[in-house]
Amino acid sequence: MLASAVVDNLLSAPVVAFIVAATFTLLGADVRLPEGLYGILSSYLLLAIGIKGGRGLGEATIDELWAPLLAAGALGVATPLIAYVLLRRAGRLDRVNGAGVAAHYGSVSAVTYTVVIGLLESRGEGYEAFLTGLLAILEVIGIVVALSIARSSAGASYGEAILEVIRGRSISMLLAGLAIGLVVGSERLASVDPLFVGLFQGVLTLFLLEMGVLAAQRLRNAGTFGLRIIALAVVIPLVNGLLGAAAGAAAGLSTGGVTVLATLAASASYIAAPAAVRIALPAADPGLSITAALGVTFPFNIIIGVSVYAAYAEWLT
């Protein structure tokens, strides 16, 4: 089961594109997409994910929603704290850098989310469509909690940082998509499906090509930060993913839904969190977080992690 999930995921076009791009980059070949495309692709993905989630939300009842919502809230608090403790103890980071990196692990990665969704769909496994809504919530809480740890040192810019996250493009696009999906409804959305559904996997493949380049560039620097941090960038997602699976199972989600929630808990943000941390904790080293979250955790999650979280889910439901 785990092996077959690993293979299914490993051979999917987006993941292969990621690996090919990372390999090419490490070999010195230039496969960067033209400037400007990165922003376009990520906006598209966030909107498309949002629309899909809004569609799902429209069909969900309050009864189905409250337990997963509670689970997401709890994960939003627990995952950055776990990351913080591990980073301070095992990673020997100081308070500011510990909190800074923890904010990345407390928040989530929308692209990792889309990879796990792709895996589930290719395996014909269902999941609760409203989970996308939790994506937006989890993205914020984890950052707030982590920044609160170092709050005293942060001063006036704390509130500003939170606002930056909430109003920033990453969450706003997701919420705009949710609103559009919810209001327009499945039937009327059919006219835009060729763009937002039909092209989704293709655009994700292009995006992961670019991410492969960026991750490889980060990975090259990883050496400077020491083995401890690299190891933690694998351990933290495995721990948080297990917690996420447990929370999802407790909330009564389906096996697919548990896989998704586990992946969200395990994933690390590299869009919303860096900006927020840079504002609230300017003394934190941004290279450290990005290298861990983007250079190590992100590849680990999309290549191997998602299959592990699927196994967690299998086991717990």
Binding site: R278, A283, D285
Partner: protein, 99 residues
């Protein structure tokens, strides 16, 4: 053409700071500014041409006093923790009342 001396203050900063810098220079007396996208390298180990956004270059033509005030402000608030670089160039402009 009659011209007067002013100072052109150029700031290069990580794009995250764009809105804050705009607020700052306006508050400290700049009557206008121009912003362009740039990328580069400097003392910060981590290239600020991050994978997310590029750096911004802000040019503002101001009086001597305003240039100094802005530079002081940059030094007090950004130089330590952010990737920010600034320089001042002597320039001549027509329409002195505008700067």
């Amino acid at each position: 053409m009659q011209t007067v001396d002013r100072h052109l203050l150029t700031i290069i900063a990580e794009s995250l700071l764009e809105h804050r810098l705009i607020d700052d220079v306006k508050r400290l007396g700049a009557r206008g500014y121009s912003i362009a996208q740039v990328r580069g390298e400097g003392a910060t180990g981590w290239t600020i041409e991050s994978w997310e956004g590029q750096s911004v270059r802000l040019d503002t033509v101001v009086t001597d006093a305003v240039a100094d005030a802005i530079l002081d402000h940059l030094s007090a608030h950004y130089f330590e923790h952010y990737a920010v670089v600034a320089w001042i160039t002597p320039v001549r402009v027509a329409r002195p009342e505008r700067y």
